[in-house]
C-alpha cells in the first residue's frame, strides 16, 4: 500500500472515469452538516418577551401578525438578491398577468391588473447568518375603479429565517440564500402562481409544512410559560381520537392552572433559561392525566391538532396565527427549525 492514509473523495479534472460525480456527490454529502434526522433539538430557549417595535418597523409588524398564515418550506433560493426586489416586483406582476391570460405575452414593467411589492422586513433576523425577511404583497386594481380608489390587497406572503441552524446555513454555497419558511395568506391560485414564479426564478422547490404533535406541544408549553409576563387568557387544545367516527376533543384550560402545572414541571432546572423536551412531555402528560381523571379518555391515543392561546394559534396542517408580536422570535425560531428539518439535504 502506498500510504495508510488516503483521502477518499477528491475532485479530479484531469481524468474522468465516468464516476467523477461520484466524487462530486461525496463532496455534497455533507454540505448540510448532518442528516436532518440528527438535527432534532431537545432543548430550546425559554421565551422572553421583547418589544419588537424597537427593532422592526411597527407597520411591518402589524402586517405579520394580522393574518392566519399557511406554512410551506422552501429549498434555498439560488441567486436571490435583496437588492433586486424592485425588479422582482415587476417580474412577478407581469408573470401573474401572463398566467391569468394564458398565451398572451405581457411586457415586463408595464402596468397590469396586479401590483406586486417586495419589501425587506429588517430586524426580524436574529443572527448574522439569518437572511433578512422578505415580504410580498399583491394588490389588485378593481376592474372599474375610479382613479382615486385604493388598491385592494389580495394576497400577501413572506419568506423568513430566524435562528436558522448555523451548521446548515454555513454549509450552503455563497450563491444560495436560505429563507426556509414561507408563509402565505390569500387565494390558493395566487399562491400557486407565486410559488411557481419562485421556482422558475430561483430554482427552488416548495413543499407544504405541517406541524407534528411534538412541535405543537412545544408551542403549547412555550406559550404557557409566557403567562406571567403576558396573560395568555386561555389554553385551548384540540385532539382527534381514532374512534369510529373520529372524536374531536376540545380541551380548554384555565391560564393560571396551566401555568402552575408548567411551573411545577419546571422546578428542577429552570434557572438557566432553557426548556427541555422532557419538561414539555411532562407538562402534556399532566394535562392528559387530568383529562383522564375526569373523562376516562386517554388523549395520548389521539393526535393533537390545534393549540391556541391569546398569543397565537397553530394547527397540525400548518396554519399559524401570531397574535402577539412580543414572542415573534420564539415562534419563528421553532417554525424555521421545522422547515429546515424538511430540507432534502
Amino acid at each position: 500500500m502506498e500510504s495508510p492514509v488516503t483521502r477518499l473523495p477528491t475532485r479530479r479534472r484531469t481524468k474522468s472515469y465516468g464516476r467523477s460525480c461520484f466524487e462530486a456527490s461525496s463532496r455534497f454529502a455533507y454540505t448540510s452538516g448532518q442528516l436532518t434526522i440528527l438535527r432534532i433539538p431537545t432543548t430550546r430557549e425559554a421565551p422572553r418577551a421583547r418589544n419588537i417595535a424597537e427593532r422592526v418597523d411597527p407597520e411591518q409588524v402589524t402586517l405579520l401578525i394580522k393574518n392566519e398564515w399557511k406554512l410551506s418550506y422552501v429549498t434555498p433560493l439560488y441567486r436571490f438578491r435583496h437588492t433586486h426586489l424592485k425588479k422582482y416586483s415587476k417580474h412577478l406582476s407581469a408573470f401573474i398577468a401572463a398566467e391569468k391570460q394564458q398565451g398572451t405575452a405581457v411586457e415586463v414593467g408595464l402596468e397590469t391588473g396586479y401590483r406586486v411589492t417586495f419589501s425587506t422586513v429588517l430586524g426580524i433576523a436574529e443572527t448574522d447568518e439569518d437572511a433578512e425577511t422578505v415580504f410580498i404583497q399583491i394588490q389588485s386594481k378593481p376592474m372599474f375603479a375610479a382613479t382615486g380608489d385604493a388598491l385592494k390587497v389580495v394576497w400577501s406572503g413572506w419568506l423568513t429565517c430566524v435562528n436558522g441552524s448555523p451548521e446548515y446555513l454555513h454549509s450552503l454555497l455563497p450563491d444560495f440564500v436560505s429563507l426556509p419558511l414561507f408563509c402565505s395568506s390569500g387565494p390558493e391560485n395566487i399562491t400557486v402562481v407565486v410559488k411557481s414564479w419562485f421556482e422558475k426564478m430561483f430554482d427552488c422547490r416548495f413543499g407544504s409544512l405541517g406541524l407534528d404533535s411534538t412541535s405543537l406541544q412545544w408551542l403549547c408549553a412555550l406559550w404557557t410559560g409566557c403567562h406571567p409576563d403576558n396573560n395568555i387568557r386561555y389554553l385551548r387544545l384540540l385532539w382527534t381520537l381514532p374512534t369510529q367516527p373520529p372524536l374531536d376533543v376540545s380541551y380548554t384550560v384555565n391560564p393560571q392552572d396551566a401555568w402552575e402545572l408548567w411551573n411545577s414541571v419546571r422546578q428542577e432546572d429552570s434557572v438557566d433559561g432553557t426548556v427541555g423536551i422532557d419538561e414539555v412531555k411532562h407538562f402534556m402528560a399532566g394535562l392528559e392525566s387530568h383529562f383522564f381523571r375526569h373523562f376516562k379518555i386517554y388523549l395520548s391515543s389521539g393526535t393533537l391538532r390545534k393549540v391556541s392561546t391569546a398569543l397565537g394559534s397553530a394547527q397540525q396542517d400548518g396554519k399559524v396565527k401570531i397574535l402577539c408580536s412580543d414572542y415573534l422570535a420564539t415562534v419563528l425560531t421553532l417554525l424555521t427549525e421545522c422547515a429546515i428539518l424538511k430540507m432534502p439535504i
Binding site: P9, R27, V106
Partner: protein, 716 residues
C-alpha cells in the same frame, strides 16, 4: 417606407456583390465552358440575360427554357448557381408575376441555396413591387428551404428589414416564422417587443406570433412574460406543400456520401401524460433559461438553442445552464455536460431539486389509502438511476429516510439499485442508516428479496472498490483540489468499512441460507459476492483477506448441486492466489505497513484442510480441522464423520457424474460399485471426466492444491 426599402435593396445588394464576387466569377467560367454543349447552361444564360418587358405570350424560347429547367429541377435539383440565377430572374419580375410564381414552384435546390441569392431575393421583396401572392410564395419557399441555405449570418443582419413586415396582417404568420428561425439574443430589443405586443393587441393571439414571443421570452426573460397553455404546442404550420414531394425525392436521390450529423438528444421528450396527476411532484420542468437580472456574460448560449452536437462542442465554454436544473433530467447530453463543467452550485441546485422531488413523492405525500398508479414514480426512479452522476447526496439521504418506512416491495428493483450507489460513509453511519433497517427487511422478506439485497450489496462493494482503486492508483494526479467540504475517509476507515460490509453480508448470508433452507438462488448470489471479495487484493490492490463464514462455506460444500461446489472451489482457489501473491509481495518489499495477520493464513489453512478432507480424503476423517472450527460448528464434527460420503465420488452433487463415469468405464457391469473408481488410474480419469464437464472452478482448485501424484487416501 419605400425609401428605406430601396436603400435596403442597395445595401444588401452591395453586400452580396462583395461576398458573391468570387463565387460568381468561377461560376461564370463554368457556365462558359458548359455553354458549348449544355442546353441547361444555355437556358440559364437566357434567364440571366433576358430583358424586362420581353413578351411572355407566344414566346417559345422562354417556354422551352422554362420546361427544360423545370425538368432538370424536378429531376435532380438545381445547382446553387442556377438557384441564384433563377431566383433573381423570378423575383425581379422581369417577365411578370405569373412567370415568377411558376419559377418559384419548381425551384428545387440539389444541395444548397447560396445565402447571397436569398438576401438579394429579400431585397426584391422589400422593393414592394411584388404582388402579395408572390410575396407569400417566396416566404414559404424560404421557410421550406431554410435548412438548405448555406449560412445565415447575412440574413440575420437584415433582421430589421424582415421584422418590419410583421405588422402586415397577411404576411405576418410567415414573417413570424422566418423571424423565429433567425432570432438570436441580440435581436430581442425592447422596441421590437413593444411592436410585437402591439400586433398581438391588434390581431389577437395568433399561434405564430405567440411562438415568436415565447422565443423572445426564452432569450430575454427580463423583458417579457408569457405562459403557454399546455394545449397550444406546435405553433407553426408546414409551408412546404408545393415543394414537399419533389424536394424529398431530390434530396433522397442526392443523399449519397453525405451522412447526416447525429441528432442531438437535447429535445425534451414530449410525454403523453395519459392522466393528469393530482400532484405534480414528478414533473420535470421545461428547459428554459433564467432571467438575467444580473448581467451575465454576453455571448452565453442557452442549452435549448443548440441543435447539434457540433454546436455543443463549439460553445462548450459559454453555455448557460437552465434556470431550473431539474430540466436537465430530460436530456442525458445536458447531464453529461454538467458532469464536465464541475459547477458546484449547479450540482447543488440539481441536488436540492432531486431531493425535494423524492421527498415529496415518497415520504411526505400521503396517499390517502388509494393506491396510485405507480408507473410514474417508478419511471422517475429509473431516471434517477440513469443519471451519470451516480449518487446525489439527496437521493442518499432520501434512501436513508425511506428505508425506515419501506415495505421492501414498493419499487423494489429501483430502490435496491439506488442503494447500491451509496458512497462509502463512516461505519457508524452506515450501520445506523443502512445495515440496521436493511437487515430487518431482509429477515422478514422472501428469498428473492434476500437475493436482491445480497446482489445490491455486492454491487455497492464493487463500486467502492473500483473507485478506491482508481483513487489510489492515480494518487499523484490532483488530490490537492479537494475542497474543505470534502468528507475525508481515511484508508483505515475505508478498510474498516469494507470489512464491516463483508462481515455483514456474511451474517446475512449464513442466516438467510439457513432460513430459506439453502435455496439454490441465494447460494449462488452469496458465492457471487464472495467471488468479488476473494479477489480484492489482486484486482483492486486492497490488502484485505476476508474469508466467508462457516455458515456459507459448508452449506456450499455440501450442496446437492454441482455448480455451487464448483463455484466454491473457484472462490477458494482465488483466495489462495491472492494470499500467495500477497505473501510474495511482502517478502520482496519488506514494507512495514504491509501486514497480513497470521490468523488469516491459519484460518485459510483450516478451511483448506476441511474442504480437502471432505472432497478428497475418503476414509480417514481424523484430520485435525482445528478445535475452534469444531467448537463453532458442532454439527461439523458429526458431518465430517460421514465425510466418506462426500468425496468427489459419493458427493450428492457429483453422484450423477460418478455413475455416468462408471457406466462408461464398465459398460457391461450392471452392478455399480463406485468405490472401484478410487483406483489410482480411474481416479484421475474420473477427475479428467469431471473437468471435461465444465467444472473449471473445481479444476483450478484441485490442480493448484493437490499434489498430482497423490491419490485419495485409502485408494487402492
Amino acid at each position: 417606407m419605400s425609401k428605406t426599402m430601396s436603400k435596403s435593396h442597395n445595401v444588401s445588394e452591395a453586400e452580396s456583390c462583395i461576398h458573391g464576387a468570387a463565387n460568381r466569377s468561377s461560376r461564370r467560367s463554368e457556365r462558359r465552358r458548359a455553354d458549348v454543349e449544355d442546353p441547361f447552361g444555355r437556358a440559364l444564360e437566357y434567364f440571366s440575360q433576358v430583358k424586362a418587358g420581353t413578351p411572355v405570350k407566344g414566346n417559345d424560347a422562354l417556354e422551352n427554357n422554362l420546361v427544360l429547367v423545370e425538368r432538370v429541377a424536378l429531376g435532380r435539383g438545381l445547382p446553387p448557381g442556377a438557384v441564384a440565377t433563377l431566383l433573381d430572374f423570378a423575383l425581379s419580375l422581369r417577365l411578370g408575376s405569373s412567370v415568377c410564381s411558376r419559377v418559384l414552384k419548381f425551384l428545387i435546390p440539389a444541395s444548397a441555396v447560396p445565402q447571397d441569392s436569398v438576401v438579394r431575393g429579400v431585397s426584391w421583396f422589400c422593393m414592394g413591387k411584388m404582388p402579395v401572392s408572390a410575396q407569400i410564395l417566396f416566404l414559404r419557399w424560404i421557410l421550406t428551404m431554410f435548412d438548405l441555405i448555406d449560412s445565415k449570418d447575412q440574413l440575420r443582419s437584415i433582421y430589421g428589414f424582415i421584422f418590419s413586415f410583421v405588422t402586415d396582417e397577411v404576411l405576418s404568420p410567415y414573417v413570424c416564422h422566418l423571424l423565429y428561425l433567425l432570432t438570436t439574443k441580440e435581436h430581442v430589443q425592447p422596441f421590437r417587443v413593444r411592436k410585437l405586443l402591439e400586433v398581438q393587441a391588434k390581431m389577437g393571439r395568433q399561434p405564430p406570433l405567440t411562438q415568436l414571443l415565447a422565443l423572445y421570452k426564452v432569450l430575454c426573460p427580463e423583458m417579457i412574460a408569457i405562459s403557454m397553455p399546455s394545449k397550444t404546442r406546435g405553433g407553426f404550420k408546414n409551408h412546404n406543400l408545393p415543394w414537399k414531394t419533389a424536394l424529398a425525392a431530390v434530396l433522397k436521390k442526392n443523399k449519397t456520401a453525405e451522412a447526416p450529423s447525429p441528432p442531438l438528444s437535447l429535445d425534451i421528450k414530449e410525454k403523453a401524460s395519459t392522466r393528469k396527476r393530482k400532484l405534480h411532484h414528478l414533473e420535470v420542468p421545461q428547459l428554459s433559461c433564467g432571467p438575467e437580472i444580473e448581467s451575465s456574460r454576453g455571448k452565453a448560449v442557452h442549452l435549448q438553442q443548440l441543435r447539434s452536437f457540433a454546436q455543443l462542442l463549439q460553445n462548450l465554454d459559454n453555455i448557460e445552464l437552465p434556470a431550473q436544473m431539474g430540466s436537465l433530467l430530460s436530456s442525458s447530453l445536458a447531464l453529461h455536460y454538467l458532469d464536465c463543467v464541475h459547477d458546484e452550485s449547479a450540482l447543488l441546485r440539481l441536488n436540492f431539486w432531486l431531493g425535494s422531488v423524492l421527498h415529496e413523492e415518497f415520504l411526505f405525500c400521503s396517499r390517502d389509502g388509494n393506491p396510485e398508479n405507480s408507473t410514474e414514480p417508478s419511471q422517475f426512479l429509473d431516471i434517477c438511476l440513469s443519471l451519470p452522476q451516480e449518487c446525489f447526496s439527496s437521493s442518499e439521504f432520501f434512501l436513508f429516510k425511506f428505508l425506515a418506512m419501506w415495505d421492501g416491495s414498493l419499487h423494489q428493483p429501483q430502490i435496491l439499485s439506488l442503494l447500491s450507489d451509496i458512497p462509502p460513509l463512516p461505519v457508524s453511519r452506515m450501520k445506523m442508516f443502512l445495515f440496521e433497517p436493511l437487515q430487518q427487511l431482509y429477515f422478514t422478506s422472501s428469498v428473492f428479496f434476500k437475493c436482491g439485497v445480497i446482489e445490491c450489496l455486492r454491487s455497492m462493494l464493487w463500486k467502492w472498490l473500483t473507485w478506491h482503486f482508481v483513487q489510489t492508483s492515480h494518487k499523484e494526479l490532483d488530490v490537492s483540489l479537494s475542497s474543505s467540504r470534502t468528507m475525508n475517509l481515511h484508508m483505515s476507515e475505508f478498510l474498516e468499512l469494507v470489512t464491516e460490509l463483508v462481515q455483514y453480508v456474511g451474517r446475512l448470508a449464513s442466516a438467510g441460507l439457513q432460513l430459506e433452507n439453502y435455496h439454490i438462488l441465494l447460494h449462488h448470489q452469496t458465492l457471487n459476492f464472495y467471488e468479488l471479495v476473494c479477489d480484492v487484493y489482486l484486482k483492486f490492490n486492497l490488502p484485505l483477506f476476508l474469508l466467508p463464514p462457516s455458515g456459507v462455506i459448508f452449506p456450499s460444500l455440501l450442496a446437492t448441486d454441482p455448480v455451487t461446489v464448483d463455484r466454491l472451489g473457484y472462490v477458494i482457489f482465488r483466495y489462495r492466489q491472492n494470499l500467495m501473491s500477497a505473501k510474495e509481495h511482502k517478502q520482496q518489499k519488506k514494507e512495514p505497513s504491509f501486514h497480513i495477520s497470521r490468523d488469516v493464513f491459519r484460518e485459510f489453512n483450516l478451511l483448506m484442510v476441511a474442504v480437502v478432507s471432505c472432497l478428497w480424503i475418503s476414509k480417514d476423517c481424523q484430520v485435525d480441522v482445528g478445535t475452534d472450527v469444531h467448537k463453532a460448528l458442532v454439527p461439523l464434527r458429526t458431518m465430517l464423520s460421514y465425510c466418506k460420503n462426500y468425496n468427489l465420488i459419493h458427493h450428492p452433487a457429483f453422484l450423477n457424474y460418478a455413475i455416468e463415469f462408471h457406466q462408461k468405464c464398465w459398460p457391461e457391469q450392471t452392478n455399480v460399485d463406485l468405490s472401484s473408481i478410487q483406483g489410482k488410474k480411474y481416479w484421475y480419469w474420473y477427475l479428467e471426466f469431471l473437468f471435461s464437464q465444465g467444472f473449471d472452478g473445481l479444476k483450478d482448485f484441485i490442480q493448484n492444491n493437490m499434489d498430482h501424484q497423490s491419490t485419495p487416501v485409502g485408494g487402492h
